[in-house]
Amino acid sequence: MRTENQKAWFFVLPVLALVAFNALVPMMTVVNYSVQETFGNNQFFWEGLGWFEQILRSDRFQAALGRQFLFTFLILLIEVPLGIIVALSMPRKGFWVPVCLVLMALPMLIPWNVVGSMWNIFTLPKIGLLGYFLNDVLGINYDMTQQPISAWITVIVMDVWHWTSLVVLLCYAGLVSIPDAYYQAAKIDGASPWSVFRYIQLPKMKTVLTIAVLLRFMDSFNIYTEPFVLTGGGPGNSTTLLSIDLVKIALGQFDLGPAAAMSLIYFAITLLVSWVFYTLMTKDDAQ
């Protein structure tokens, strides 16, 4: 006879409670706001999906979303190959290994708003070292407070400086785990350095690379502090990424309904794209 009891649920309970408190409950308040309108005094009026429609149709949201995708696309395009190249050129053994690792980890240890301030002071024209050098020594017209292109370049260079190390360290971990025997086999076959990379190193790095791409996608798609401190979203709206715009709506204009709807849309996009990335990158293993 088959005995059935529900005891197993007790073992899942702690996790459910934890997830409920740190994710589900706070998120439900956002869901709550996203379908209602309030004028203060704790009075709420049912709004339905109106805010979602308004946000999705607004030029402002579409522009911010476009900027966000462009930013994340450029970040992945630069940081992933650069990270792989740096990891490949790091020594595998000897005295320089710990030195390189510590140097690589340094940027990641700096708090995000400090990174923003550092790059702000560093790149200000006239005052900043880089700003002064570009304008007054090299004669390049560069002002990230006035020119959108300069602002974009600065934001991207800052992120590359801050986060390429993450890709490097993950790839490096994947590389050092490849046994020497693989390199010997390739040497005996007479494989070119490109073939070694393509058929040994890249496949062996795949798992860590998947994690690196996912982390860099999520982090760069949700980025707030650094560009906010560096440019404040300007000049104009040129570097107003999704999260900066969101904070403007929620805390600047106190439009809680639209901000909540936008948060949910934002979250859904992040989740969806992460899922697509993950599915594509792990597809081969499932076959």
């Binding site: 046994p179 025997a181 693989y182 010997q184 086999a185 040497k187 005996i188 076959d189 007479g190 494989a191 073939s195 058929y199 040994i200 890249l202 496949p203 062996k204 081969d284």
Partner: protein, 349 residues
């Protein structure tokens, strides 16, 4: 043919391989036999050109290849753990060295299929390595070595990570797989039994040097030193002490016989256990008496460990013999099977 001439290898200031001279003939199955750390892998890497040699020369078919790159030496190497390109099918794995060599497509297909048939990989040709069992992965690596036209094939403990049954199966096939392919085969192992089963030639390695090289059966019959004598023996070979005065050998613990051609002095004498029997085998037999400590039956053989003077001896004989543990028994040994070694461990007679 591969020749090493006074070849050495060092890592930093430590000499890993002491000056080594070795000639391995094409078509022979050569076993490098030695404990872990004795230098088998180092020697293989030197011959393969994966590690530079500190001094001396490496020759292949008479041509000096000491400074020649690995890929130009036309060799194959199979490792202890399974090394295959993870992203390629079994077919592509076997074909990869042929493609690098620029072989025609039809010829590649023929060679890959031939190798796959020999190793029963035909149904797996389109799978990836991670979809195969350990034995199939290693067979893929072996197939790659077979398909490639190599002057030398190095097998570095290729069966060590396989389970018992697979190991026996593959070991049986190995000499045939490479026979008639015009390559020097070098097989490294730490198991003496494997060397005996594989036949061919054996080089005994110890502490970075080759202590003896020759046909495996010769090494078994005529060990050049006491270490070589101890290698192939289960139960362990008997080692006693003899004093030679005149032409008479006096064994410590009792027993004497005539010897010839040996100077007076102290020697170690080694006799294999199956040459010490509880019954007389010839008129020349010497009687050894000792108290039986342990007896064992294995299959139809019985072995007895007995105390002879201060030394423990073992007798191994066919049939079941009625030993009384704790009692004195007589054992017989023909001195013709004795091998004598000097104080330095070198064979004397």
């Amino acid at each position: 043919m591969i020749e090493l001439q006074d070849a050495t290898k060092r890592v930093g200031n430590v000499i890993h391989i002491k000056p080594t001279n070795l000639t391995l003939q094409t078509g022979h199955f050569n076993v490098l036999l030695g404990a872990t750390g004795s230098g088998k892998t180092s020697l293989i890497k030197m011959m393969a050109g994966l590690d530079p040699i500190a001094s001396g020369k490496v020759l292949m078919d008479g041509q000096d290849v000491t400074r020649l790159n690995t890929q130009k030496r036309q060799i194959s190497l199979v490792h202890q753990f399974f090394v295959n390109y993870p992203h390629m099918s079994v077919f592509d794995n076997i074909a990869s060295p042929l493609r690098v060599a620029g072989m025609a497509k039809s010829e590649i297909e023929g060679r890959v299929e031939e190798a796959a048939d020999l190793l029963q990989l035909r149904p797996m040709l389109h799978r990836r390595p991670h979809e195969l069992s350990g034995g199939q992965q290693q067979r893929t690596a072996l197939a790659r070595a077979i398909a490639k036209e190599s002057r030398a094939v190095f097998l570095d403990e290729p069966l060590a990570n396989l389970d018992y049954k697979l190991r026996e199966e593959l070991r049986e096939q190995l000499p045939d797989l490479f026979a008639g392919r015009g390559a020097v085969v070098v097989y490294a192992t730490s198991e003496p039994e494997e060397a005996l089963l594989l036949g061919g030639y054996t080089a005994l390695m110890e502490d970075g040097r080759i202590t003896q090289f020759g046909p495996t059966a010769d090494i078994y019959r005529n060990p050049e030193n006491i270490a070589a004598a101890r290698v192939f023996s289960d139960p362990p070979i008997n080692v006693g002490r003899v004093k030679v005065i005149g032409a008479m050998a006096q064994l410590e613990g009792g027993g004497r016989w005539n010897v010839s051609g040996m100077a007076d002095g102290d020697y170690a004498v080694a006799v294999r256990p199956h040459r010490v029997t509880p019954f007389r085998t010839s008129d020349a037999d010497v009687e050894l008496t000792g108290r039986v400590i342990v007896t064992e039956l294995s299959g139809s053989d019985s072995s007895a460990h007995f105390q002879h003077g201060e030394d423990a001896w073992v007798s191994l004989a066919a049939g079941v013999h009625p030993y009384q543990v704790g009692e004195d028994h007589s054992f017989y040994m023909n001195p013709a099977h004795c091998r004598y070694f000097g104080q330095d461990g070198k064979r004397v007679a």
